[in-house]
C-alpha cells in the first residue's frame, strides 16, 4: 500500500466530510471522525471517482476505520490492474 494512495484517501475523507486534513490519519476510525452512514456513502462515491474503481457493497461491510478503507482500495486497484478474469 503506497503512501500516495493513503494521502489520496485521507484527502478524499477530509474533503467529503469538510474537516481539516490534519484531523484525518491512517489510524483514525470512523466513529472518532463522527462519520455516519450517509457520510460513508458520500466518501465511497468520492473514492470511486478518485481511483476510477467500483466499490461493491459487500466490500464495505465491516470497514470501520481509515486503515481498513485504504487496504480495501489498494486491493480493488490491484484487482483492476490485473484485469477481469478470463472468460470461461
Amino acid at each position: 500500500m503506497s503512501d500516495d494512495l493513503i494521502q489520496r484517501v485521507l484527502k478524499v475523507i477530509s474533503t467529503s466530510k469538510r474537516i481539516p486534513p490534519e484531523t484525518v490519519t491512517i489510524d483514525s476510525d470512523f466513529a472518532q471522525l463522527n462519520i455516519d452512514s450517509m457520510d460513508a456513502v458520500e466518501i465511497l462515491f468520492a473514492l470511486e471517482n478518485e481511483f476510477d474503481i467500483s466499490i461493491p457493497d459487500d466490500a464495505v461491510r465491516g470497514v470501520r476505520n481509515v486503515r481498513q478503507m485504504c487496504e480495501g482500495i489498494d486491493k480493488l486497484i490491484t484487482d483492476k490492474a490485473s484485469g477481469p478474469p478470463a472468460a470461461q
Binding site: 455516519d36 452512514s37 450517509m38 456513502v41 465511497l44 461493491p56 457493497d57 459487500d58
Partner: protein
C-alpha cells in the same frame, strides 16, 4: 366526531392486479420479488425489485389516454377504479362536487423525466416531449383520478418520501371525521423503475443484492417496489345505512418529525408518531393486536423501529405480532403505506396476519414477534400501520376490525 369506514379498496403491485390477488398473496406469504425487467439493468449493481409483472397499459387505457400518463399515474387510476367500484357510492351531483382525492407519491413521474432528460444530455437533442411536465408532476395521480370520476372537491398530493401514502390517508381520514368531506378517494402510487432513479438508490447503498429480509439478522437492505393501493373512505353510519361492505374502520392517525438526520431514523420520533396515533384513536397500547411495520430490511430502520415499538408497548411486546409485508410487495416508496394499510385491513378483515417473508435468523436488536415466514390465524380488533420516511417524517394509522 364522525366514525370513518373503508368501503372500497383497490390495488396493483407485484403481488397482483387487484385487492383480492394482493390479499391472497400476503395471506399465504408469497413474495413478489424478482429480477427487474421493465428497464435495462445492465448498469445497475442490484438486479431485483418488486415489479408489476408484464405490465402494459392496454387493458386499462386506450393509447391516446395513456400518452398523457406516466406509469405511476396509471397505477393510481387502476387502483382507484377498483376501490370505487367496490364501494359503489351513490353518486349525486353534490357528492361529486364535495368528495376529496388525496394521494401520496414520492418520485411521481420521474421515470418520464429521466427519459426526457436523456434526450438532452445523452442524445444531444434540443427538445423534450411536450407532455414531460404533465406526466412528471407528482399530483398527476390525483388529477387523473378526479377526471376519471368527475370528482371536483378538494384534491391534492402529499409527498413525504416513504410516508407519503400514510400522510395522504391520514389527511383523508381527518377530513371525513371532521365532516369536511362526505367521501374521499385516497392512497398512494409509485413507479420508480427507471435507470436514473435506480442508480440514485444504488448510490445510497441501501438496496439488497438478493431479497428483502426485514428484522432478520442477515438482512442486507430494502427492495424497491412499484404499484398502488387506493381506498374509498366514508362516514361509517352513512355507509351502514346504504348497506355498503365495510372492510375496516380508521380510528386514529399520528404524525411526527424526527428533527435529527436526513436519512438515519430516530426511534424517539417513530415512538412519538405511534403514541400520537394511539392518543388520536383513544387507545391504550395493550389494545393493539398487530402492527404492520415500516420494516424496510435496512440495518438502521429495523433496529430503530424495534426500539420504538419496545418504548411504546413495553411488556405488551411479548404478545404483539409485528410483520413487514415489504418482504413480499417490496418498498413502493410513496405507495408503500397504502399497500401496507391494505395489508393491515386484510389482516383485520380476514383474521390472517401476514408474515415477514424471507426471514432466516432472529436479530437480538430486533426482538419482536415478526410472524416469520408463515401467516398466522388471529382475530385482532386493532392494528397500527407504521411509516417512517427518509427525512424523519413519520405517519402512523390506527385501524379497527368491523364486526360482520
Amino acid at each position: 366526531m364522525v366514525r370513518v369506514a373503508i368501503t372500497g379498496a383497490g390495488a396493483i403491485c407485484a403481488l397482483g392486479r387487484n385487492a383480492s390477488e394482493f390479499a391472497a398473496a400476503i395471506s399465504s406469504g408469497r413474495s413478489g420479488i424478482g429480477p427487474i425487467r421493465s428497464t435495462d439493468m445492465s448498469r445497475v449493481r442490484f438486479q431485483n425489485g418488486a415489479e408489476v409483472p408484464d405490465y402494459s397499459h392496454t387493458p386499462y387505457f386506450d393509447d391516446r389516454r395513456a400518452d398523457f400518463m406516466d406509469r405511476f399515474a396509471q397505477f393510481a387510476v387502476i387502483a382507484a377504479r377498483e376501490a370505487v367500484a367496490a364501494a359503489a357510492p351513490e353518486w349525486t351531483a353534490e357528492l361529486r362536487e364535495n368528495a376529496a382525492i388525496i394521494t401520496g407519491s414520492c418520485v411521481g413521474g420521474q421515470s418520464t423525466e429521466d427519459i426526457g432528460f436523456q434526450e438532452i444530455y445523452k442524445h444531444g437533442r434540443n427538445r423534450v416531449h411536450p407532455l414531460t411536465i404533465p406526466k412528471t408532476m407528482a399530483n398527476a395521480g390525483a388529477s387523473h383520478i378526479s377526471m376519471e370520476f368527475g370528482v371536483t372537491g378538494p384534491s391534492f398530493t402529499i409527498s413525504t418520501a416513504c410516508s407519503s401514502a400514510a400522510h395522504a390517508i391520514g389527511q383523508a381520514y381527518w377530513m371525513i371525521r371532521s365532516g369536511a368531506a362526505p367521501l374521499a378517494i385516497t392512497g398512494g402510487s409509485e413507479a420508480p423503475f427507471s435507470c436514473g432513479i435506480l442508480k440514485a438508490w444504488e448510490a445510497m447503498r441501501v438496496v439488497s443484492p438478493d431479497t428483502c429480509r426485514p428484522f432478520s439478522k442477515d438482512r442486507h437492505g430494502m427492495i424497491l417496489g412499484e404499484g398502488s393501493a387506493m381506498f374509498v373512505l366514508e362516514p361509517l353510519e352513512a355507509a351502514r345505512a346504504r348497506g355498503a361492505r365495510i372492510h375496516a374502520e380508521i380510528v386514529g392517525f399520528g404524525m411526527s418529525a424526527d428533527a435529527s438526520h436526513i436519512t438515519q431514523p430516530s426511534a424517539e420520533g417513530a415512538a412519538r408518531a405511534m403514541r400520537t396515533a394511539l392518543r388520536d384513536a383513544g387507545l391504550s397500547p395493550e389494545q393493539i393486536g398487530y402492527i404492520n411495520a415500516h420494516g424496510t430490511g435496512t440495518l438502521a430502520n429495523d433496529i430503530s423501529e424495534s426500539a420504538a415499538i419496545h418504548a411504546v408497548f413495553g411488556s405488551c411486546v411479548k404478545n404483539l405480532p409485528v410483520s413487514s409485508t415489504k418482504s413480499m410487495h417490496g418498498h413502493a416508496l410513496g405507495a408503500a403505506a397504502a399497500l401496507e394499510c391494505l395489508a393491515a385491513i386484510v389482516a383485520l378483515r380476514d383474521g390472517i396476519l401476514p408474515p415477514t417473508a424471507n426471514f432466516n435468523e432472529p436479530d437480538p436488536e430486533c426482538d419482536l414477534d415478526v410472524v416469520p415466514n408463515h401467516p398466522r390465524a388471529a382475530q385482532v380488533e386493532y392494528a397500527l400501520s407504521n411509516s417512517f420516511a427518509f427525512g424523519g417524517l413519520n405517519a402512523v394509522l390506527a385501524l379497527r376490525a368491523v364486526a360482520h
